[in-house]
Amino acid sequence: MANLEIIEDEFKERDASLPRETEIKIENLCVTFPDKNGGEPIIALSNVNLEIKQGEFISLLGPSGCGKTTLLRTIANLQDQTSGDILVRGLSPREIRLQKKYGIVFQSPVLYEWRTVRRNVCMPMELLGMPKKDRTARVTKMLELVGLMEFGEKYPHELSGGMQQRVNIARALAIRPEILLMDEPFSALDEFTKEKLHEDLLKIWKKTNKTILFVTHNIQEAVYLSDRVVVLSPHPGRVSAVVDINLERPRPIAIKESQEFNALVSKVRNSFEGV
Protein backbone atom coordinates (compact mmCIF):
# COMPACT_ATOMS: atom_id res chain seq x y z
CA MET A 1 0.00 0.00 0.00
CA ALA A 2 2.82 2.39 0.76
CA ASN A 3 3.61 4.29 -2.41
CA LEU A 4 7.28 5.11 -2.25
CA GLU A 5 7.95 6.77 -5.60
CA ILE A 6 6.32 9.96 -4.39
CA ILE A 7 8.94 10.70 -1.77
CA GLU A 8 11.77 10.46 -4.29
CA ASP A 9 13.23 13.78 -3.15
CA GLU A 10 13.76 12.41 0.33
CA PHE A 11 15.48 9.23 -0.72
CA LYS A 12 18.75 9.05 1.06
CA GLU A 13 19.56 5.41 0.60
CA ARG A 14 22.73 4.79 2.47
CA ASP A 15 26.02 4.05 0.87
CA ALA A 16 26.88 0.80 2.65
CA SER A 17 30.61 1.48 2.45
CA LEU A 18 30.42 4.62 4.60
CA PRO A 19 30.65 4.18 8.36
CA ARG A 20 27.43 5.11 10.19
CA GLU A 21 27.61 8.16 12.40
CA THR A 22 26.42 8.10 15.98
CA GLU A 23 22.97 9.60 16.24
CA ILE A 24 22.10 9.16 19.91
CA LYS A 25 24.52 8.55 22.74
CA ILE A 26 23.24 7.75 26.20
CA GLU A 27 25.61 7.53 29.15
CA ASN A 28 24.75 6.50 32.71
CA LEU A 29 21.20 7.73 32.33
CA CYS A 30 19.06 7.63 35.47
CA VAL A 31 15.45 8.75 35.78
CA THR A 32 13.62 8.70 39.10
CA PHE A 33 10.10 9.77 39.95
CA PRO A 34 9.27 11.15 43.40
CA ASP A 35 6.91 8.87 45.30
CA LYS A 36 3.53 10.50 45.69
CA ASN A 37 3.09 9.23 49.24
CA GLY A 38 6.41 10.71 50.29
CA GLY A 39 8.29 7.40 50.34
CA GLU A 40 11.46 6.45 48.50
CA PRO A 41 11.62 7.82 44.95
CA ILE A 42 10.78 5.27 42.25
CA ILE A 43 13.69 4.37 39.99
CA ALA A 44 12.33 4.23 36.44
CA LEU A 45 15.68 3.90 34.72
CA SER A 46 19.02 3.12 36.28
CA ASN A 47 22.37 3.50 34.61
CA VAL A 48 21.39 3.13 30.97
CA ASN A 49 24.18 3.17 28.39
CA LEU A 50 23.31 3.00 24.73
CA GLU A 51 24.67 4.17 21.42
CA ILE A 52 22.44 4.40 18.39
CA LYS A 53 23.75 4.92 14.89
CA GLN A 54 22.22 7.04 12.18
CA GLY A 55 19.63 5.14 10.17
CA GLU A 56 19.33 2.28 12.64
CA PHE A 57 16.04 0.62 13.52
CA ILE A 58 16.17 0.03 17.27
CA SER A 59 13.49 -1.61 19.37
CA LEU A 60 13.15 -0.96 23.07
CA LEU A 61 11.59 -4.16 24.35
CA GLY A 62 10.36 -5.09 27.78
CA PRO A 63 7.42 -5.81 30.08
CA SER A 64 5.39 -3.00 31.60
CA GLY A 65 7.25 -1.06 34.24
CA CYS A 66 10.68 -1.62 32.68
CA GLY A 67 11.07 2.03 31.72
CA LYS A 68 11.01 1.62 27.92
CA THR A 69 8.50 4.41 27.45
CA THR A 70 10.33 6.55 29.99
CA LEU A 71 13.53 6.06 27.99
CA LEU A 72 11.80 7.13 24.77
CA ARG A 73 10.18 10.13 26.48
CA THR A 74 13.50 11.20 27.98
CA ILE A 75 15.15 11.09 24.56
CA ALA A 76 12.20 13.06 23.19
CA ASN A 77 12.62 15.63 26.00
CA LEU A 78 9.09 15.00 27.24
CA GLN A 79 10.59 13.77 30.52
CA ASP A 80 13.56 15.21 32.41
CA GLN A 81 16.54 13.04 33.23
CA THR A 82 17.70 12.82 36.84
CA SER A 83 21.36 12.20 36.05
CA GLY A 84 23.58 11.03 33.22
CA ASP A 85 23.91 12.33 29.68
CA ILE A 86 21.99 12.11 26.46
CA LEU A 87 23.47 13.56 23.32
CA VAL A 88 21.54 13.57 20.08
CA ARG A 89 23.74 14.58 17.16
CA GLY A 90 25.96 16.27 19.69
CA LEU A 91 23.12 18.35 21.12
CA SER A 92 20.78 17.99 24.09
CA PRO A 93 17.36 16.39 23.53
CA ARG A 94 15.78 19.77 24.28
CA GLU A 95 17.67 21.48 21.49
CA ILE A 96 16.77 18.71 19.08
CA ARG A 97 13.12 18.98 20.09
CA LEU A 98 13.13 22.74 19.55
CA GLN A 99 14.71 22.18 16.12
CA LYS A 100 11.74 19.90 15.41
CA LYS A 101 13.90 16.97 14.40
CA TYR A 102 11.73 14.44 16.24
CA GLY A 103 8.67 12.79 14.79
CA ILE A 104 6.69 11.07 17.51
CA VAL A 105 4.04 8.40 17.06
CA PHE A 106 2.18 7.73 20.27
CA GLN A 107 0.32 4.62 21.36
CA SER A 108 -3.04 6.20 20.57
CA PRO A 109 -3.34 8.19 17.34
CA VAL A 110 -4.02 11.56 19.10
CA LEU A 111 -5.78 12.96 16.05
CA TYR A 112 -7.71 16.19 16.44
CA GLU A 113 -11.32 15.19 15.90
CA TRP A 114 -12.32 18.67 14.72
CA ARG A 115 -9.87 18.48 11.82
CA THR A 116 -10.13 16.38 8.69
CA VAL A 117 -7.39 13.87 7.93
CA ARG A 118 -5.68 16.41 5.64
CA ARG A 119 -5.75 19.14 8.24
CA ASN A 120 -4.47 16.76 10.90
CA VAL A 121 -1.43 15.94 8.81
CA CYS A 122 -1.09 19.65 8.10
CA MET A 123 -1.01 20.62 11.78
CA PRO A 124 2.75 20.38 12.52
CA MET A 125 3.52 22.28 9.32
CA GLU A 126 1.19 25.08 10.35
CA LEU A 127 3.10 25.32 13.62
CA LEU A 128 6.30 25.44 11.63
CA GLY A 129 4.96 28.37 9.61
CA MET A 130 5.31 26.59 6.29
CA PRO A 131 3.62 28.47 3.39
CA LYS A 132 0.18 27.16 2.51
CA LYS A 133 1.09 25.98 -0.98
CA ASP A 134 3.97 23.86 0.29
CA ARG A 135 1.78 22.46 3.03
CA THR A 136 -0.90 21.32 0.62
CA ALA A 137 1.63 19.61 -1.62
CA ARG A 138 3.32 17.97 1.32
CA VAL A 139 0.06 16.69 2.81
CA THR A 140 -0.87 15.10 -0.51
CA LYS A 141 2.50 13.39 -0.63
CA MET A 142 2.26 12.13 2.93
CA LEU A 143 -1.24 10.74 2.39
CA GLU A 144 -0.07 8.97 -0.72
CA LEU A 145 2.87 7.60 1.23
CA VAL A 146 0.61 5.94 3.78
CA GLY A 147 -2.01 4.98 1.19
CA LEU A 148 -4.82 7.24 2.41
CA MET A 149 -5.29 9.48 -0.62
CA GLU A 150 -9.07 9.03 -0.80
CA PHE A 151 -9.57 9.70 2.90
CA GLY A 152 -8.21 13.24 3.10
CA GLU A 153 -11.56 14.89 3.68
CA LYS A 154 -12.78 12.33 6.23
CA TYR A 155 -12.86 13.02 9.93
CA PRO A 156 -10.79 10.78 12.25
CA HIS A 157 -13.79 8.99 13.76
CA GLU A 158 -14.78 7.81 10.28
CA LEU A 159 -11.53 5.82 9.98
CA SER A 160 -10.55 2.42 11.36
CA GLY A 161 -7.88 2.13 14.04
CA GLY A 162 -5.25 1.07 11.49
CA MET A 163 -6.06 4.02 9.23
CA GLN A 164 -5.90 6.42 12.16
CA GLN A 165 -2.45 5.11 13.02
CA ARG A 166 -1.40 5.63 9.37
CA VAL A 167 -2.53 9.26 9.62
CA ASN A 168 -0.51 9.51 12.80
CA ILE A 169 2.59 8.24 10.98
CA ALA A 170 1.97 10.58 8.04
CA ARG A 171 1.74 13.51 10.45
CA ALA A 172 4.96 12.50 12.22
CA LEU A 173 6.81 12.30 8.89
CA ALA A 174 5.31 15.52 7.51
CA ILE A 175 7.91 17.86 8.98
CA ARG A 176 10.80 15.71 7.74
CA PRO A 177 12.06 14.58 11.14
CA GLU A 178 15.49 12.99 11.39
CA ILE A 179 14.51 10.65 14.20
CA LEU A 180 11.23 8.80 14.43
CA LEU A 181 10.19 7.85 17.96
CA MET A 182 7.38 5.31 18.12
CA ASP A 183 5.74 4.32 21.40
CA GLU A 184 3.90 0.99 20.97
CA PRO A 185 2.25 2.39 17.84
CA PHE A 186 0.61 -0.84 16.73
CA SER A 187 -0.26 -2.45 20.06
CA ALA A 188 -3.98 -1.66 19.76
CA LEU A 189 -4.32 -3.04 16.23
CA ASP A 190 -5.38 -6.47 15.06
CA GLU A 191 -2.76 -8.92 13.84
CA PHE A 192 -3.52 -8.49 10.10
CA THR A 193 -3.42 -4.70 10.15
CA LYS A 194 -0.29 -4.86 12.25
CA GLU A 195 1.56 -7.06 9.75
CA LYS A 196 0.60 -4.77 6.90
CA LEU A 197 1.82 -1.71 8.79
CA HIS A 198 5.07 -3.49 9.72
CA GLU A 199 5.83 -4.04 6.05
CA ASP A 200 4.93 -0.47 5.16
CA LEU A 201 6.96 0.95 8.02
CA LEU A 202 10.03 -1.01 6.94
CA LYS A 203 9.65 0.24 3.36
CA ILE A 204 9.30 3.84 4.48
CA TRP A 205 12.27 3.44 6.81
CA LYS A 206 14.48 1.94 4.11
CA LYS A 207 13.67 4.68 1.65
CA THR A 208 13.89 7.66 3.99
CA ASN A 209 16.83 6.32 5.97
CA LYS A 210 15.55 7.75 9.23
CA THR A 211 16.66 6.55 12.63
CA ILE A 212 13.75 4.77 14.28
CA LEU A 213 13.28 4.03 17.96
CA PHE A 214 10.42 1.64 18.41
CA VAL A 215 9.00 0.81 21.83
CA THR A 216 7.16 -2.51 22.08
CA HIS A 217 6.34 -5.34 24.45
CA ASN A 218 6.00 -7.84 21.63
CA ILE A 219 9.14 -9.95 21.09
CA GLN A 220 8.24 -11.11 17.55
CA GLU A 221 7.50 -7.56 16.48
CA ALA A 222 10.82 -6.32 17.85
CA VAL A 223 12.83 -9.09 16.18
CA TYR A 224 11.04 -8.75 12.85
CA LEU A 225 11.52 -4.99 12.57
CA SER A 226 14.83 -4.16 14.17
CA ASP A 227 18.53 -4.03 13.51
CA ARG A 228 19.07 -4.32 17.24
CA VAL A 229 16.74 -5.10 20.11
CA VAL A 230 17.42 -3.36 23.40
CA VAL A 231 16.04 -5.60 26.14
CA LEU A 232 14.94 -3.75 29.28
CA SER A 233 14.14 -5.40 32.61
CA PRO A 234 12.11 -3.91 35.46
CA HIS A 235 12.74 -3.08 39.17
CA PRO A 236 14.71 -1.00 38.54
CA GLY A 237 14.35 -0.31 34.82
CA ARG A 238 17.64 -1.16 33.16
CA VAL A 239 19.11 -2.47 29.92
CA SER A 240 19.72 -6.17 30.45
CA ALA A 241 20.90 -7.00 26.94
CA VAL A 242 21.28 -5.66 23.42
CA VAL A 243 20.62 -8.35 20.81
CA ASP A 244 21.82 -7.90 17.22
CA ILE A 245 19.30 -9.07 14.67
CA ASN A 246 21.29 -10.04 11.60
CA LEU A 247 18.39 -11.22 9.52
CA GLU A 248 18.58 -10.35 5.87
CA ARG A 249 16.62 -7.40 4.55
CA PRO A 250 14.12 -7.01 3.02
CA ARG A 251 12.41 -9.43 5.36
CA PRO A 252 9.45 -11.32 3.95
CA ILE A 253 6.59 -12.18 6.34
CA ALA A 254 7.55 -15.87 5.94
CA ILE A 255 10.80 -15.17 7.74
CA LYS A 256 8.79 -15.37 10.98
CA GLU A 257 8.55 -19.13 10.49
CA SER A 258 12.28 -19.65 9.91
CA GLN A 259 14.52 -21.33 12.45
CA GLU A 260 16.86 -18.37 12.45
CA PHE A 261 14.03 -16.03 13.42
CA ASN A 262 12.82 -18.30 16.20
CA ALA A 263 16.33 -18.73 17.54
CA LEU A 264 16.60 -14.95 17.82
CA VAL A 265 13.21 -14.75 19.53
CA SER A 266 14.38 -17.31 22.12
CA LYS A 267 17.64 -15.45 22.56
CA VAL A 268 15.79 -12.22 23.25
CA ARG A 269 13.34 -13.96 25.59
CA ASN A 270 16.17 -15.52 27.57
CA SER A 271 17.89 -12.21 28.09
CA PHE A 272 15.18 -10.82 30.39
CA GLU A 273 16.13 -10.67 34.03
CA GLY A 274 13.89 -10.91 37.04
CA VAL A 275 10.56 -11.08 35.26
Binding site: R73, A76, N77, L78, R97, L98, Q99, K100, Y102, I104, F106, Q107, S108, V110, Y112, E113, W114, T116, M123, P124, E126, L127, L128, Y155, H157, I175
Partner: protein, 269 residues
Protein backbone atom coordinates in the same frame (compact mmCIF):
# COMPACT_ATOMS: atom_id res chain seq x y z
CA UNK B 1 -24.65 1.01 4.58
CA UNK B 2 -25.64 4.61 3.97
CA UNK B 3 -29.25 3.65 3.54
CA UNK B 4 -29.19 1.75 6.80
CA UNK B 5 -27.90 4.69 8.84
CA UNK B 6 -30.49 6.91 7.18
CA UNK B 7 -33.24 4.52 8.21
CA UNK B 8 -31.91 4.45 11.76
CA UNK B 9 -32.00 8.22 11.93
CA UNK B 10 -35.59 8.19 10.69
CA UNK B 11 -36.60 5.79 13.41
CA UNK B 12 -34.93 7.98 15.97
CA UNK B 13 -36.60 11.11 14.67
CA UNK B 14 -39.97 9.39 15.02
CA UNK B 15 -39.44 8.89 18.71
CA UNK B 16 -37.81 12.27 19.38
CA UNK B 17 -39.99 14.52 17.22
CA UNK B 18 -43.16 12.80 16.08
CA UNK B 19 -44.31 11.33 19.40
CA UNK B 20 -44.05 14.60 21.37
CA UNK B 21 -45.79 16.47 18.53
CA UNK B 22 -48.61 13.90 18.48
CA UNK B 23 -48.96 14.18 22.24
CA UNK B 24 -49.13 17.97 21.93
CA UNK B 25 -51.84 17.78 19.27
CA UNK B 26 -53.85 15.34 21.41
CA UNK B 27 -53.58 17.72 24.36
CA UNK B 28 -54.70 20.65 22.18
CA UNK B 29 -57.74 18.70 20.99
CA UNK B 30 -58.71 17.76 24.55
CA UNK B 31 -58.20 21.38 25.58
CA UNK B 32 -60.17 22.94 22.75
CA UNK B 33 -63.05 20.45 23.15
CA UNK B 34 -63.07 21.18 26.90
CA UNK B 35 -62.57 17.51 27.77
CA UNK B 36 -59.40 18.59 29.54
CA UNK B 37 -61.40 21.02 31.68
CA UNK B 38 -63.66 18.17 32.79
CA UNK B 39 -60.67 15.95 33.55
CA UNK B 40 -58.92 18.48 35.82
CA UNK B 41 -62.04 20.27 37.00
CA UNK B 42 -61.19 23.71 35.59
CA UNK B 43 -63.36 26.30 33.87
CA UNK B 44 -62.71 28.30 30.69
CA UNK B 45 -62.11 31.45 32.76
CA UNK B 46 -58.95 30.20 34.48
CA UNK B 47 -58.00 27.96 31.55
CA UNK B 48 -59.12 29.73 28.36
CA UNK B 49 -59.44 27.78 25.14
CA UNK B 50 -56.42 27.65 22.77
CA UNK B 51 -58.39 29.44 20.04
CA UNK B 52 -59.06 32.38 22.30
CA UNK B 53 -55.44 32.57 23.47
CA UNK B 54 -54.19 32.64 19.87
CA UNK B 55 -56.74 35.32 18.98
CA UNK B 56 -55.49 37.54 21.80
CA UNK B 57 -51.92 37.18 20.53
CA UNK B 58 -53.02 38.02 16.98
CA UNK B 59 -55.12 41.02 18.07
CA UNK B 60 -52.36 42.53 20.23
CA UNK B 61 -49.45 41.77 17.95
CA UNK B 62 -47.64 45.09 18.42
CA UNK B 63 -47.92 45.10 22.22
CA UNK B 64 -46.86 41.45 22.39
CA UNK B 65 -43.85 42.10 20.14
CA UNK B 66 -42.77 45.08 22.26
CA UNK B 67 -42.70 42.84 25.32
CA UNK B 68 -41.04 40.00 23.43
CA UNK B 69 -38.29 42.37 22.30
CA UNK B 70 -37.64 43.52 25.85
CA UNK B 71 -37.38 39.96 27.11
CA UNK B 72 -35.25 38.66 24.25
CA UNK B 73 -32.80 41.57 24.49
CA UNK B 74 -32.33 40.89 28.20
CA UNK B 75 -32.02 37.13 27.70
CA UNK B 76 -29.59 37.29 24.77
CA UNK B 77 -27.62 40.22 26.20
CA UNK B 78 -27.17 38.40 29.49
CA UNK B 79 -26.43 35.12 27.73
CA UNK B 80 -23.64 36.69 25.66
CA UNK B 81 -22.15 38.64 28.58
CA UNK B 82 -22.39 35.67 30.92
CA UNK B 83 -20.97 33.18 28.43
CA UNK B 84 -18.03 35.43 27.50
CA UNK B 85 -17.32 36.12 31.15
CA UNK B 86 -17.63 32.42 31.99
CA UNK B 87 -15.29 31.41 29.17
CA UNK B 88 -12.78 34.05 30.29
CA UNK B 89 -12.93 32.62 33.83
CA UNK B 90 -12.33 29.16 32.35
CA UNK B 91 -9.23 30.47 30.53
CA UNK B 92 -7.94 32.21 33.66
CA UNK B 93 -8.49 29.05 35.72
CA UNK B 94 -6.52 27.07 33.10
CA UNK B 95 -3.61 29.53 33.14
CA UNK B 96 -3.49 29.64 36.95
CA UNK B 97 -4.67 26.15 37.92
CA UNK B 98 -3.93 26.52 41.65
CA UNK B 99 -6.20 29.55 42.06
CA UNK B 100 -8.49 28.62 39.23
CA UNK B 101 -9.91 25.38 40.57
CA UNK B 102 -10.72 27.04 43.89
CA UNK B 103 -12.28 29.98 42.08
CA UNK B 104 -14.49 27.68 40.06
CA UNK B 105 -15.72 25.96 43.23
CA UNK B 106 -16.78 29.39 44.49
CA UNK B 107 -18.48 29.99 41.14
CA UNK B 108 -20.50 26.81 41.50
CA UNK B 109 -21.43 27.84 45.03
CA UNK B 110 -22.76 31.14 43.61
CA UNK B 111 -24.93 29.15 41.22
CA UNK B 112 -26.78 27.76 44.24
CA UNK B 113 -28.06 31.28 45.07
CA UNK B 114 -31.60 31.50 43.68
CA UNK B 115 -32.08 34.26 41.11
CA UNK B 116 -35.22 35.38 42.87
CA UNK B 117 -33.09 36.31 45.85
CA UNK B 118 -30.68 38.47 43.88
CA UNK B 119 -33.13 40.16 41.50
CA UNK B 120 -34.60 42.67 44.02
CA UNK B 121 -31.14 43.40 45.42
CA UNK B 122 -29.78 44.15 41.94
CA UNK B 123 -32.70 46.45 41.31
CA UNK B 124 -31.65 48.40 44.33
CA UNK B 125 -27.96 48.35 43.43
CA UNK B 126 -28.49 49.71 39.92
CA UNK B 127 -30.84 52.50 40.95
CA UNK B 128 -28.18 55.21 40.47
CA UNK B 129 -27.03 53.92 37.10
CA UNK B 130 -29.44 55.97 35.00
CA UNK B 131 -32.25 58.46 35.39
CA UNK B 132 -34.31 56.45 32.97
CA UNK B 133 -36.25 53.71 34.74
CA UNK B 134 -36.37 51.61 31.58
CA UNK B 135 -32.58 51.67 31.18
CA UNK B 136 -31.73 50.89 34.78
CA UNK B 137 -34.30 48.08 34.88
CA UNK B 138 -32.80 46.63 31.73
CA UNK B 139 -29.35 46.67 33.35
CA UNK B 140 -30.57 45.00 36.52
CA UNK B 141 -32.32 42.28 34.55
CA UNK B 142 -29.32 41.69 32.27
CA UNK B 143 -27.04 41.32 35.29
CA UNK B 144 -29.33 38.64 36.72
CA UNK B 145 -29.17 36.70 33.44
CA UNK B 146 -25.39 37.24 33.20
CA UNK B 147 -24.82 35.73 36.64
CA UNK B 148 -26.98 32.74 35.76
CA UNK B 149 -25.06 32.07 32.54
CA UNK B 150 -21.53 32.72 33.81
CA UNK B 151 -21.35 29.76 36.13
CA UNK B 152 -22.28 26.95 33.76
CA UNK B 153 -20.01 28.37 31.06
CA UNK B 154 -17.01 28.81 33.35
CA UNK B 155 -17.17 25.24 34.63
CA UNK B 156 -17.70 23.73 31.18
CA UNK B 157 -15.08 25.95 29.55
CA UNK B 158 -12.55 24.88 32.16
CA UNK B 159 -13.34 21.25 31.48
CA UNK B 160 -13.16 21.75 27.71
CA UNK B 161 -9.81 23.52 27.96
CA UNK B 162 -8.35 20.83 30.20
CA UNK B 163 -9.93 17.48 29.40
CA UNK B 164 -7.59 16.75 26.52
CA UNK B 165 -6.92 13.41 24.89
CA UNK B 166 -3.96 11.59 26.39
CA UNK B 167 -0.66 12.54 24.73
CA UNK B 168 -2.10 15.59 22.96
CA UNK B 169 -0.11 17.99 25.15
CA UNK B 170 2.99 15.84 24.60
CA UNK B 171 2.38 15.99 20.88
CA UNK B 172 2.21 19.81 21.00
CA UNK B 173 5.41 19.84 23.03
CA UNK B 174 7.13 17.60 20.49
CA UNK B 175 6.21 20.13 17.80
CA UNK B 176 7.90 22.73 20.03
CA UNK B 177 4.60 24.65 20.20
CA UNK B 178 4.36 27.56 22.64
CA UNK B 179 1.68 27.79 25.33
CA UNK B 180 -0.24 30.36 23.30
CA UNK B 181 -0.15 28.14 20.20
CA UNK B 182 -1.28 25.18 22.29
CA UNK B 183 -4.23 27.28 23.47
CA UNK B 184 -5.23 28.33 19.98
CA UNK B 185 -4.65 25.05 18.17
CA UNK B 186 -5.54 22.53 20.86
CA UNK B 187 -7.31 23.79 23.97
CA UNK B 188 -9.82 26.19 22.40
CA UNK B 189 -11.00 23.90 19.59
CA UNK B 190 -11.18 21.07 22.13
CA UNK B 191 -13.54 23.18 24.26
CA UNK B 192 -16.14 23.80 21.52
CA UNK B 193 -18.42 20.83 22.38
CA UNK B 194 -18.22 21.87 26.04
CA UNK B 195 -19.37 25.39 25.09
CA UNK B 196 -22.50 23.82 23.63
CA UNK B 197 -22.99 21.69 26.75
CA UNK B 198 -22.97 24.94 28.72
CA UNK B 199 -25.30 26.68 26.25
CA UNK B 200 -27.80 23.82 26.40
CA UNK B 201 -28.15 24.66 30.07
CA UNK B 202 -27.79 28.42 29.89
CA UNK B 203 -30.05 29.20 26.91
CA UNK B 204 -33.22 27.97 28.68
CA UNK B 205 -31.87 29.35 31.97
CA UNK B 206 -31.33 32.79 30.40
CA UNK B 207 -34.99 32.99 29.38
CA UNK B 208 -36.28 31.78 32.72
CA UNK B 209 -34.12 34.25 34.63
CA UNK B 210 -35.09 37.05 32.24
CA UNK B 211 -38.77 36.28 32.88
CA UNK B 212 -38.33 36.05 36.64
CA UNK B 213 -36.17 39.17 36.92
CA UNK B 214 -38.89 41.12 35.11
CA UNK B 215 -41.25 40.38 38.00
CA UNK B 216 -39.06 42.48 40.29
CA UNK B 217 -37.98 45.15 37.82
CA UNK B 218 -38.91 48.76 38.37
CA UNK B 219 -40.05 49.34 34.80
CA UNK B 220 -43.09 47.37 33.69
CA UNK B 221 -42.19 45.57 30.47
CA UNK B 222 -41.41 42.07 29.27
CA UNK B 223 -43.25 38.81 28.73
CA UNK B 224 -42.69 37.62 32.28
CA UNK B 225 -43.96 40.86 33.75
CA UNK B 226 -47.06 40.74 31.56
CA UNK B 227 -47.90 37.26 32.81
CA UNK B 228 -47.78 38.56 36.36
CA UNK B 229 -49.64 41.82 35.70
CA UNK B 230 -52.47 40.07 33.87
CA UNK B 231 -52.89 37.41 36.53
CA UNK B 232 -53.08 40.14 39.16
CA UNK B 233 -55.86 41.74 37.10
CA UNK B 234 -57.51 38.33 36.67
CA UNK B 235 -57.12 38.59 32.88
CA UNK B 236 -56.24 34.93 32.60
CA UNK B 237 -56.65 34.71 28.83
CA UNK B 238 -54.10 37.47 28.28
CA UNK B 239 -51.76 35.94 30.87
CA UNK B 240 -52.03 32.65 28.98
CA UNK B 241 -51.23 34.43 25.74
CA UNK B 242 -47.96 35.63 27.24
CA UNK B 243 -47.23 32.17 28.65
CA UNK B 244 -47.58 30.76 25.13
CA UNK B 245 -45.28 33.50 23.80
CA UNK B 246 -42.70 32.74 26.51
CA UNK B 247 -42.73 29.08 25.50
CA UNK B 248 -42.32 30.04 21.86
CA UNK B 249 -39.27 32.20 22.66
CA UNK B 250 -37.69 29.34 24.59
CA UNK B 251 -38.33 26.78 21.88
CA UNK B 252 -37.02 29.08 19.15
CA UNK B 253 -33.81 29.98 20.95
CA UNK B 254 -33.16 26.33 21.78
CA UNK B 255 -33.85 25.40 18.15
CA UNK B 256 -31.35 27.99 16.90
CA UNK B 257 -28.81 26.58 19.36
CA UNK B 258 -29.33 23.02 18.08
CA UNK B 259 -28.91 24.11 14.45
CA UNK B 260 -25.71 26.01 15.30
CA UNK B 261 -24.44 22.99 17.19
CA UNK B 262 -25.16 20.72 14.23
CA UNK B 263 -23.15 22.98 11.94
CA UNK B 264 -20.22 23.71 14.25
CA UNK B 265 -19.78 20.21 15.62
CA UNK B 266 -19.90 18.59 12.22
CA UNK B 267 -17.41 15.75 12.01
CA UNK B 268 -17.09 15.27 15.74
CA UNK B 269 -18.21 12.08 17.37
Amino acid sequence: MKKKTHFKWDKQSISTVLYPVLFGILLLILWQTQLLHKMIGADTFALPLPGRILRIIADNKSTVMKNVNATVIVAIGGLICGSLLGYLLGIIATIFPKWGVGGLSIASAISAVPIIAIAPILNNLTKDFSNDASTRSMLAKTIVVTITCTVSMSINAYRGLNELKPFSLDLMKSFAASKVTTFIKLRIPNSVPYIFTALRVSVPASIISALVSEYFAEFIIGVGRQIRENIVLAQYATAWAYIVVACAIGIMMYGILLVAEGILLKGRK
